[in-house]
Symmetry: C2
Subunit: 211 residues, 2 copies
């Protein structure tokens, strides 16, 4: 099997999201063209992505929605609840604690850690603990996933603490690029960088038009 | 000039963030190796990215920090304040209104729109207006940038409203993949997809080790 890359897995997530919506509309079959439209890719790309995982459709019949959904769910680890910890309960951290999309997708934030654990959230039952309890919590509960939402200067240290306790994957919102290592996968989400990217391409478009 | 792609512009943002930090440490010169370390790329990549924009260093002397910073700032449109509107003042929207990283980077959210404008934010001065005022606001204030933080079912409609009023770039947090068009650049940020991506690669690592 070819090893899929990150963008391939991103697309599988999108296909799966689209299938869930189509299933809600009572679709029983779905075609690569449908998924291509929903994920803004070509139908050939959809079929290629599926073929990496040995998922084959019928030329005229497309894919069975239920079968495809269960296969994609298994690949993406959605066949079980994923427990995740959050470090940093500031503005971004609080928003993530309230984000309904995670629970819907089988991802559950089980605890928040902060240097100031009095940052209690009134309207959730998720406990907020002091940072020094993190190491034991990760070990005791066998947690593999963490979200970093601390200020930039604290991010690297929090990452090291997480890794030493056994965290294997991190979603980082601190505005600094944390480095991946062999024992820990990292996705850096930098909101400012995303906006700067858009700004550049708007300006580039303006320049092209004014020439 | 070669047209830079999105990942190139993302790297320029990272270089710029690193340079700002190095400047705070009183660096006067910086080398491609420094920036490579900070952005987790190779030094050759740094030099290649800079060469696209005609930025050249001195072989032994590296780059002048001030000069490099002002060039990158100009490329990324940071030489002027970027005004941006936010649509959807739920959990994610509220967090973005409070996110200190934008203001620091010269990006200012000037107004929020929501179908329920009573969603007032106590501790900011940013006004929250009803959605039907958006069109006029965008036109009157010549706004080009918007953030979508509404539920998935409303996202496409909000995008069309934005585009019809003249918005040219959108950062989308709704968990649906909005499609780019010739007249509007879109960056989709899907938090669930980011996490699913990490989960997949953790599982793939586990499988590889157990073989």
């Amino acid at each position: 099997m070819n090893m899929p890359n990150r963008t391939c897995i991103m697309r599988l997530s999108r296909y799966r999201n689209a299938i869930i919506r189509l299933k809600a509309l009572n679709f029983v079959r779905v075609f690569s063209d449908n998924l291509a439209d929903a994920a803004s890719v070509t139908a050939a790309q959809v079929r290629k992505d599926f073929s990496i995982f040995g998922i084959a459709g019928h030329r005229r019949g497309g894919y069975q929605v239920d079968d495809l959904l269960s296969k994609l769910s298994k690949i993406l680890g959605k066949d079980q609840i994923q427990e995740i910890i959050l470090v940093g309960v500031g503005n971004i951290g609080k928003a993530l604690l309230h984000y309904p999309g995670f629970e819907k997708s089988g991802i559950r934030i089980v605890v928040g850690f902060d240097i100031d654990p009095t940052k209690h959230i009134a309207d959730t039952n998720i406990p907020i603990l002091p940072l020094e309890k993190m190491h034991d919590y990760i070990l005791t509960n066998n947690i593999k996933l963490g979200i970093i939402a601390v200020p930039d200067y604290a991010a690297q240290q929090v990452l090291e603490m997480m890794k030493s306790a056994g965290i294997k994957g991190v979603l980082n919102f601190a505005p600094i690029c944390l480095r991946e290592s062999a024992d820990c996968v990292i996705n850096n989400v930098n909101l400012v960088t995303e906006l700067e990217n858009i700004i550049y391409f708007i300006k580039a478009g303006d320049n092209a038009r004014s020439k």
